[in-house]
């Protein structure tokens, strides 16, 4: 205290008289002290002054630091540019791999029963005998314990809803067509199904449109086998729409046609 007291006054005059340069740092706290008025509060602002100090002594600081502003600005600019380029690339890449749910919603005319009837789509209890479905052809709900064989099977006669729905649960896309669909269009549909597991094709009586595609919880009805949405529906929803994952079986199912569900010993004999 005693030693520093003399030093204090000595410095102070220099500050005031010598002018701004060396004093630059000093008038700031002085001014602050004046602002603060209460001397008791003075010492504390001194600590705060550390933060504020650098602002005022612009004159000396500016001279030494001014030089590096150019490179800094350049560096920041390049950094921001690089970050935005890479950021855009990453964003674009992520956009390219949008989740299948979003892509499914983007298919024109697709009906999403996961949204419309979440209870129906939750999963399927096994049920013997005929099951009443509100959606035609059905897209989800309770179903027979046996699934319709869906190893790229092409059925030439209608199949049972109760087995077909089980196949949907396993990730199958079931293409149903009105029996009056021209043969050349049926052939086109056939080529999309043959040899492809988790696909099956069958005629369906009483369809309101010539072709109806079903996946678990999704339906799309189209007029023509050339409609590009058919491939889009298959790519987006085959296996993806399954609530049981990609290893659910399609073999070992019912290979017979007929709209009456088969209970009992149909499965064990393969």
């Amino acid at each position: 205290m005693s030693i520093s007291t003399p030093g204090g006054p000595e410095r102070r005059p220099t500050v005031v008289t010598t002018g701004k340069k060396p004093a630059a740092g000093r008038p700031t706290p002085g001014a602050k002290a004046g602002d603060g008025k209460s001397t008791g509060a003075g010492p504390r602002p001194a600590a705060g002054g550390k933060g504020k100090g650098p602002r005022k002594p612009i004159a000396p600081v500016k001279v030494s630091q001014g030089r590096s502003w150019g490179p800094i600005a350049l560096f920041v600019a390049v950094g921001v540019l690089a970050a935005s380029i890479i950021g855009y690339g990453a964003w674009a890449a992520f956009q390219g791999s949008k989740p299948w749910e979003k892509r499914a919603a983007g298919i024109d005319g697709v009906v999403d029963y996961r949204e419309k009837e979440p209870e129906l789509v939750k999963g399927g209890n096994h049920q013997q005998g005929a099951v009443k479905y509100t959606v035609t052809p059905p897209v989800a709900g309770p179903h027979n314990a046996a699934w319709q064989n869906c190893m790229g099977d092409v059925y030439d006669a209608p199949i049972a809803n109760e087995h077909a729905v089980h196949s949907l649960e396993h990730g199958t896309v079931w293409i149903a067509y009105r029996p009056d669909l021209p043969a050349d269009q049926v052939t086109k549909l056939k080529s999309k199904v043959q040899g492809q597991e988790k696909m099956m094709l069958s005629p369906y009586e009483g369809l309101d449109k010539p072709i109806s595609l079903q996946a678990w919880g999704y339906q799309l009805k189209v007029d023509n086998a050339d409609d590009s949405r058919i491939d889009e529906f298959i790519k987006t929803l085959r296996v993806n729409a399954s609530v049981e994952g990609p290893t659910a079986l399609c073999s070992g199912g019912i290979t017979a046609t007929g709209t009456t569900p088969r209970d009992g010993n149909q499965m064990p004999t393969q």
């Binding site: 001194a46 920041v76 890479i86 990453a90 988790k198 298959i234 987006t236 296996v239 393969q270």
Partner: protein, 222 residues
């Protein structure tokens, strides 16, 4: 009273403000370095996020084609293997059937996991076998090399006893030969570590199977 306080303040502030310029410069320098580090980290993070996206197999890659088509190929082997396991008569046919069905079903899971981790759908946009040179020519009615026709599968389902055993062995031998052809196709073009490792394992397994399947067929026919 006032004098001591002011000097006191001068004292405390003196050193601070005196060095004010240099710490400020230092602080500024630290800020720049911190900013540089942050930008560097961000760039590294973005690069790290992007690189695997750019380097992993794409939708039309041979790896994705192999994963999809081999899944279909395997699915039929699982179907035939389960028939042999459930209804075969010869003990070796029963055990080989179960072994092939479970083994290939497991490999389907592996391949489907690749597709998912590559951000790809289980279904491709390319024709079957398009990933292999001249591969499309080998497809008949959607069936890839070695696959049984729907008629042959119906026959296998309807068969009984020794007839079933023999038919299974014949169909599975042909199926494996076709499968190895496809495995060789992906080994020729891919250096993706997971794919290469799994494909080699598949080939080893199927070659060993072939020896045993052929020996069993000779035994049953002989």
């Amino acid at each position: 009273m006032t004098a001591p306080t002011t000097t006191d303040r001068d004292l405390t502030e003196g050193p601070v403000t005196d060095d004010g310029g240099r710490p400020a410069a230092r602080r500024f320098g630290v800020l720049v370095v911190a900013a540089a580090v942050v930008v560097g980290l961000l760039l590294g993070y973005a690069g790290g996020l992007l690189t695997p996206k750019l380097t992993r197999p794409g939708d039309a890659s041979a790896e994705a084609g192999f994963a999809r088509d081999m899944t279909s190929h395997h699915a039929q082997a699982v179907a035939m293997g389960l028939i042999a396991f459930q209804r075969g008569t010869d003990p070796e046919v029963v055990s080989i059937g179960g072994d092939i069905a479970t083994g290939q079903q497991g490999e389907i899971g592996t391949m489907q996991t690749w597709l998912r981790s590559w951000g790809l759908d289980p279904s491709g946009s390319q024709p079957r076998m398009a990933w292999m040179p001249d591969g499309e020519d080998t497809v008949r009615d959607g069936l890839m090399p070695g696959m049984a026709t729907p008629e042959e599968l119906a026959k296998l389902r309807a068969a009984q006893g020794r007839e079933l055993d023999v038919l299974f062995l014949e169909l599975m031998i042909r199926h494996h030969i076709g499968g190895i052809h496809m495995i060789d196709g992906v080994l020729d073009v891919s250096d993706q570590p997971d794919v290469v490792r799994t494909a080699r394992t598949m080939k080893n397994t199927q070659q060993t199977d072939l020896t045993n399947l052929r020996a069993a067929l000779d035994r049953l026919k002989g």
